[in-house]
C-alpha cells in the first residue's frame, strides 16, 4: 500500500542511519493525521519522532538548522497548504543555504506532505504546490504515484545531501499493489514508462498517472498510448520523455495542478526546445482549472481532468480536426 510504503521507507532509513529523525505536527502519539508515521514513535522513541506545536516556520527552521549541523531530518507537513505558513524557512533558508555558503553547508532534509483533489477538503487543504517548488532553485521535487516508487524514492531522498520536497497524494494512500521483497531504491531524476505505446505520449504526475493509464487502457483497441511518469519533477528525466515523443510525435501532459506557469507547462517548454522536430502536433497540457480547489464533490470532480477528459483530449489531438504540422 502507498501509505505503508512511505512508513516503511522512513522506518528502514531510521534503522540504517541514526541521524535520521522525523518531526512534525501529530507525528508521534497520533501517528500523523493520515497515519503515515504510525508505529514509528513506539519503535524509535520520542527523541527521533518528534511532535511539534502548530508552528510551521519554527519547526521547518529547526529541521533546516539540524540538517546544517549533522542530522538528516524528515519533516512531515500535515497538509501541504500549511507549508505556505513557513515558506520563508523552506525557500529562503533550506533551498538557498547550500548555494549561499559556497557549497560549505549541506542540507540533507526531506520535507514530505500530502495534498489531493477528490476528498472534499476544499481550497486550503487540497492544492497542488509542486510547481512552486519546481520553480525554486535548490529543491529536488519528488511526486510518486505508486507504492513501489513511493518507497524507493523516499529512501533515496533521505540519503540525498540537499533538500528534497516529497509530495504525497492522499487519494493514493490506500491504493494497494504488489511490491517485491527486499530493499529497493529509486534514484531521483529517473522517469518510468508506466505503460508502453507507439502512437501517443502522455506525461502524467501523481494521481493523473492512474487516470492516464486507465484512459490508455480504454483506448487500447484503437490508439496505442504510452504513459510516462517523471516521478521526479526536478531534476526532470527529459531524455525518457523525448525518446517516447520521437517514437509517437505527440505529447499530452496531464496533471491535477493548475496549468498556467506549471510543471506541465515546463515539460512542454523543454520538449519544444529540445524535441521540436519530433512533434507532429502542438503539445497540450491538461490540468486543473484556474481557480482554488472547490469544496462540493461535484465541483471538485469538474475541477481536474477525469479519464473521459483525457480520452477526449487524445482523440482531439489525433483527430481530423486537429491542425497538422506535417
Amino acid at each position: 500500500m502507498y501509505r505503508t510504503a512511505i512508513t516503511e521507507a522512513m522506518s528502514e532509513e531510521m534503522e540504517r542511519d541514526e541521524r535520521v529523525f522525523v518531526i512534525g505536527e501529530d507525528v508521534d502519539l497520533f501517528g500523523g493525521v493520515y497515519k503515515t508515521t504510525r508505529g514509528l514513535v513506539e519503535k524509535f522513541g520520542p527523541k527521533r519522532v518528534r511532535g511539534t506545536p502548530i508552528s510551521e516556520a519554527a519547526f521547518f527552521g529547526l529541521a533546516v538548522g539540524a540538517a546544517m549541523t549533522g542530522l538528516r531530518p524528515i519533516v512531515e507537513i500535515m497538509y501541504m497548504d500549511f507549508a505556505l505558513v513557513g515558506m520563508d524557512q523552506l525557500v529562503n533558508q533550506a533551498a538557498k543555504i547550500h548555494y549561499m555558503s559556497g557549497g560549505q553547508v549541506k542540507i540533507p532534509l526531506v520535507v514530505r506532505g500530502q495534498f489531493g483533489v477528490g476528498t472534499a477538503e476544499a481550497a486550503q487543504h487540497s492544492q497542488h504546490l509542486e510547481s512552486w517548488f519546481v520553480h525554486t532553485p535548490g529543491f529536488k521535487v519528488v511526486m510518486p504515484a505508486t507504492a513501489y516508487d513511493a518507497k524507493g524514492l523516499l529512501k533515496f531522498a533521505i540519503r540525498d545531501d540537499n533538500p528534497v520536497i516529497y509530495l504525497e497524494n492522499r487519494v493514493l494512500y490506500l491504493r494497494k499493489e504488489e511490491v517485491p521483497d527486499g530493499e529497493w531504491l529509486v534514484p531521483l531524476g529517473s522517469a518510468d514508462v508506466k505503460r508502453e505505446g507507439t502512437d501517443f505520449t502522455v506525461v502524467a504526475t501523481s494521481n493523473a498517472v492512474h487516470k492516464s493509464s486507465e484512459a490508455a487502457q480504454r483506448l487500447a483497441s484503437e490508439i496505442s498510448v504510452e504513459v510516462i511518469d517523471p516521478r521526479t519533477l526536478d531534476p526532470l528525466d527529459l531524455a525518457t520523455i523525448l525518446k517516447s515523443i520521437k517514437k509517437t510525435g505527440h505529447l499530452l501532459v496531464v496533471q491535477e495542478g493548475v496549468v498556467g506557469a506549471s510543471f506541465g507547462a515546463e515539460v512542454v517548454r523543454q520538449v519544444t526546445q529540445d524535441g521540436f522536430s519530433y512533434l507532429r502536433r502542438a503539445p497540450l497540457v491538461l490540468g486543473a482549472r484556474d481557480v482554488p480547489v472547490p469544496f462540493s464533490p461535484v465541483l471538485e470532480k469538474a475541477f481536474v481532468p477525469q479519464v473521459d477528459d483525457i480520452i477526449q483530449a487524445i482523440r482531439m489531438m489525433l483527430g481530423p480536426g486537429a491542425p497538422a504540422s506535417d
Binding site: F21, K47, R50, T52, P53, S55, A57, A58, F59, F60, G61, L62, A63, V64, G65, A66, A67, M68, T69, G70, L71, D88, Q89, N92, Q93, I97, H98, Y99, M100, S101, G102, G103, Q104, V105, K106, P137, G138, D161, N162
Partner: protein, 305 residues
Amino acid sequence: MLLIRRFEEKVKKLYNGGRVVGAIHLYIGQEAVAVGVCQALKKQDYVFSTHRGHGHAIAKGCDLGRMMAELMGRETGLSRGHGGSMHLFDPSRGLMGGNGIVGGGIPLALGAAFSAQYRGTDQVAVAFFSDGAANQGVFAESLNLAALFKLPVIFVCENNRYAATTPVKLSCAREAIAERAEAYGVPAATVDGNEVAAVHEVAVNAVRRARGGDGPFYIECKTYRVEPHCGIIPDDREKGEREAWRTKDPVAIFRTRLTAEKVITPAAIEVMEKEIAGRLEKAVEFAEQSPWPDPKSARHKSCLV
C-alpha cells in the same frame, strides 16, 4: 571590539569608493554585544548571524582577508563569492551564516541546538537578532519551541533602537522585549549592550545553563545602531541622539575602563591600533588580488550537489 570597529570603518570607506558592493549593514556601535557573547563560546559552538553580521564573524575568529574577499565577491571569500556581506559562512568556526531575512536565523539556531542535544554534545547555539526581528512571528514560535524542547539555545536580542529606519517606540507596543521571552518560559536578562563586561557576564551564565541542560536563555542587549540601516543612505534621527550616543560608545567606554584600571596603557592601545591597521590593509590587499569566481560557475550551479 577595536578590530570590529576598524573593520567596519574600512568597509564603509571601501563601500563609498565603490570597492565593496551590494547591501552593507554596518555593526558600528554594537561591538560589545558580539564580543561579549562570542567570548563566552567555544569554537565549536554555533552562531547564527544576521544581515548585520560582520561583528559576529570577527568575534567568532573568522579570517579577515576571506571576509573582505566575500564582501568584494571574490572566489576566495568565506562563501566563495556566492553569499556576500549578509551571508558569511564559516562552519569550521561555528559561524552558520548571516541571514537576509529579519528573524530568519532564529529557528535555524534552534535546529543546531536540537542537533547538539540529539547528538549528546555540549555545544550551544546562539541566535543573534534585533528589536526588528522580535516582531516576526517566528520569534514567538521559536521561544515556545525552545522552551518546550529545552534546547541549548541562547537568544541574543541586539536592541539597537531601529528596525530598518523605524524607531523601536514605533514598532514595539511594549519595548521590554525580554518580557515576551519570559511569557514563553524562557528566562531572560536585560543588559547594557554597550558594556562588554556586562554582556559577557550574562552570556557566560546563559552558556553555562545551556551546556548543563537547563535549556534556553534570552539576553536583551540595549545598544544603538550608529550607522544608517544599509549602505550610506542617511536616515533621520532625533536631534542630538547620535551625539548623546557618543558618550556611550562601547569601544570608548571599554578603553577608558581598561586604561583607568591600568590593564592596558594608552601606548599599548596605539600599538594595537597600528597592528589592526596593518591586518586590515593586508585583508584588503588579499581580497583585491583574489580572482573573481568563474562566471560559468553561476550557471552551472557549481557548488550545488
